[in-house]
């Protein structure tokens, strides 16, 4: 790098990033407020006296829990007061206590489940990315060939197959019929008595099916996006120039074209977060994985309102953070945004 002439633009771009970050953080505040309003509204959708009627009809809610809820939400007070009380508690990260017999704070329950869901989704995201990018790039380069058509059909099939159905069939085939892999949970019974490597192997065996099914289902969006993004880039002047310079096709495609085609994908990753979290309900239910999706499904079925409201708010807030990270990544990766001044950065 030539510092003598890039000092100014580096400083400029740092200032720009700080200003950009501040602006984005400020923009998150109204969205957070909106998230709480929608969550509150959805729970009060039920006709008549909202939450109260639901618990009155629901035998799963004990008298004690009902009293606790009435007090916690101030059900005798007008709706906007109830909302304000609830939001004030949220601001202190007080999500209330679960209606379940264990009566634990919602935040504790979420805290122990969230890492499972997040790490599974992260593994899936990495695999999807690692597979979908080359699939999409090659499909664009070899457009209209057998490879292009074959992968197109393959990734569409992944989208079209109901994940729970595929999971059921594979569980039956590999787990029950062939007996190769365990079909539910994350660990075998008594796994704690074994050494670290055995535990790791055990975990991998439990995860192979859920992760493969999830990855197969997630390929379509990204690989198709990659394909069209790549098709667009390949037609640009600088790619023609790179080819005209006599650069090998490999370098043109994987260095020059890919770098530019990858940019919009960063935003796509941020947008895919709510879908991933939402999809975890199905996976965690079918494979008995103790994550957020399973917790939420249990909460919804048991009408555990504090838990449901808590997870809705946390899930949406996570998406906000994910989008922010994606946008920051985009700003960092795109020299046109990063530099924020003429000269276009330091390369």
């Amino acid at each position: 790098m030539d510092y003598s002439c890039t000092d100014l633009s580096t400083l400029n771009s740092e200032l720009f990033m700080i200003r950009y970050l501040a602006k984005r953080l400020l923009m998150m505040i109204p969205l957070l407020v909106g998230i709480t309003i929608i969550t509150f509204g959805v729970i009060h959708l039920a006709p008549g006296e909202p939450v109260e009627m639901q618990i009155a009809m629901n035998p799963k809610v004990t008298a004690e829990a009902r009293e606790r809820l009435r007090k916690f939400y101030g059900l005798d007070r007008p709706l906007h007061v109830q909302y304000l009380t609830w939001v004030t508690r949220l601001a202190r990260l007080d999500f209330g206590r679960s209606f379940a017999p264990d009566n634990r704070p919602v935040i504790d329950k979420v805290r122990e489940r969230l890492p499972v869901t997040l790490s599974l989704n992260l593994i899936e995201l990495i695999l999807v990315f690692g597979l979908a990018v080359p699939i999409g790039v090659l499909a664009a380069v070899r457009r209209d060939t057998v490879y292009d058509k074959g992968t197109t059909l393959f990734v569409f099939l992944g989208f079209a197959v109901p994940t729970f159905w595929l999971a059921l069939l594979l569980m039956y085939l590999f787990g029950v019929k062939l007996g190769w892999i365990p079909i539910s949970g994350l660990h075998s019974l008594g796994y704690k008595t074994h050494g670290f490597w055995w535990q790791l192997w055990d975990l991998a065996r439990h995860l192979v099916l859920p992760i493969s099914v999830a990855t197969f289902g997630g390929l379509a969006g990204l690989s198709r996006y990659m394909r069209s993004s790549m098709l667009e880039v390949i037609g640009q002047d600088y790619i023609v120039t790179a080819r005209a310079k006599g650069l090998p096709e490999r370098v043109v495609v994987w260095r020059h074209a890919l770098r530019n085609a990858l940019l919009p994908v960063i935003t796509l990753l941020g947008l895919s977060i709510p879908g991933l979290i939402g999809g975890s309900v199905i996976f965690e239910t079918i494979f008995a994985i103790p994550g957020m999706g399973q917790l939420f499904y249990g909460g919804v079925m048991a009408r555990d309102y504090p838990l449901v409201m808590g997870i809705l708010v946390i899930g949406a807030a996570l998406t906000l953070v994910g989008n922010l990270l994606a946008d920051l990544g985009y700003a960092l990766a795109d020299p046109r945004i990063r530099a924020g001044s003429e000269g276009g950065g330091s390369r």
Binding site: I35, P162, T163, I277, L312
Partner: protein
């Protein structure tokens, strides 16, 4: 203008026809409509007819897809399930498309703070894991096919709104729109007569793919036991009813799942086919 339009239409049609995947998808969709329309004539019995002397029979000449735990003919139920699944897909997407189009039109045409408010609403709705929201509302309101269609629609309009808005933003500066406004056309007339017809093609693509998504969502809800309530057969609830018997009656799970996969794939291929046919960048 008209000659040019019909030329473009011809090109689009020709490109769609040349796309074998899209045509295959269209054939499957057409077959599906035919089958669900002709359901009473092509099935051996009613979808709810019990036959307790023939319970969990494997596929045979009499029962193409076998029978379920109550002796109902699975083929019949899958055919009638097509009606339900298609209905869910169309109504849900209809709701999403109408809301999304209206919001997109208003947002794109009026710009300014109207636009900001509406687009923040879109951002807001996009934050929620949609499936969580759907689950919550359905369990609060009790599962019914109408609620399911409504809630899938109400949580699926954001993409359409963004698409339409982007189209409107570019269309409203075009000469023919400026000319219409200069000639004194009213705002609704400009929007509905001049802008909307030209903004419809991306909506068509997203609606086609949306039908596929709605069918999948309904089946996932049914799998969790809160989809279309039995005894009405939907592909999702036939499959769910069979999942406990998978070890000795695979056909109960296999055929409805296959129907979902084929249908969703078909809609997706048609949608992508329309998108490619309309894409001006892919002209050769």
């Amino acid at each position: 203008m008209n000659i040019r339009d019909s030329y473009i239409a011809q090109v689009v049609l020709r490109r769609f026809r040349a796309n074998s995947f899209a045509m295959g998808g269209l054939a499957v969709v057409a077959l599906l409509f035919l089958v669900s329309w002709l359901a009473p004539w092509i099935t051996p019995c009613g979808p709810g007819d019990l036959d307790l002397s023939h319970v969990l029979m494997p596929p045979s000449a009499a029962h193409w897809f076998g029978t379920d735990d109550l002796g109902r003919d699975v083929f019949t139920r899958v055919v009638y399930g097509a009606r339900v699944s298609l209905k869910v897909g169309f109504v849900a997407v209809g709701i999403a498309t109408i809301i999304g189009t209206i919001i997109g039109l208003i947002s794109g045409y009026f710009a300014g703070w109207t636009d900001s408010v509406m687009m923040r609403l879109v951002d807001l709705m996009l934050c929620f894991p949609t499936f969580f929201l759907i689950l919550t509302v359905i369990t609060i309101l009790e599962p019914s096919i109408w609620y399911i269609m409504a809630i899938i629609g109400l949580t699926g309009w954001m993409g359409v709104a963004r698409l339409v808005r982007a189209e409107v933003l570019s269309l409203k500066e075009r000469d023919f729109v400026l000319a219409a406004r200069a000639l004194g056309a009213s705002v609704p007339r400009v929007i509905f007569r001049h802008i909307l017809p030209n903004a419809l093609s991306p909506v068509l693509v997203s609606a086609t793919i949306g039908v596929a998504g709605a069918i999948l969502t309904e089946s996932a809800l049914s799998f969790l036991g809160i989809g279309v309530p039995p005894p009405t057969p939907s592909w999702g609830n036939i499959l769910t009813g069979g999942k406990d018997y998978i070890e000795f009656a695979w056909w109960l799970t296999f055929f409805p799942g296959l129907a979902i996969t084929a249908t969703v794939l078909a809609y997706y291929l048609v949608g992508e086919g329309i998108r490619d046919a309309l894409d001006p960048r892919l002209h050769r």
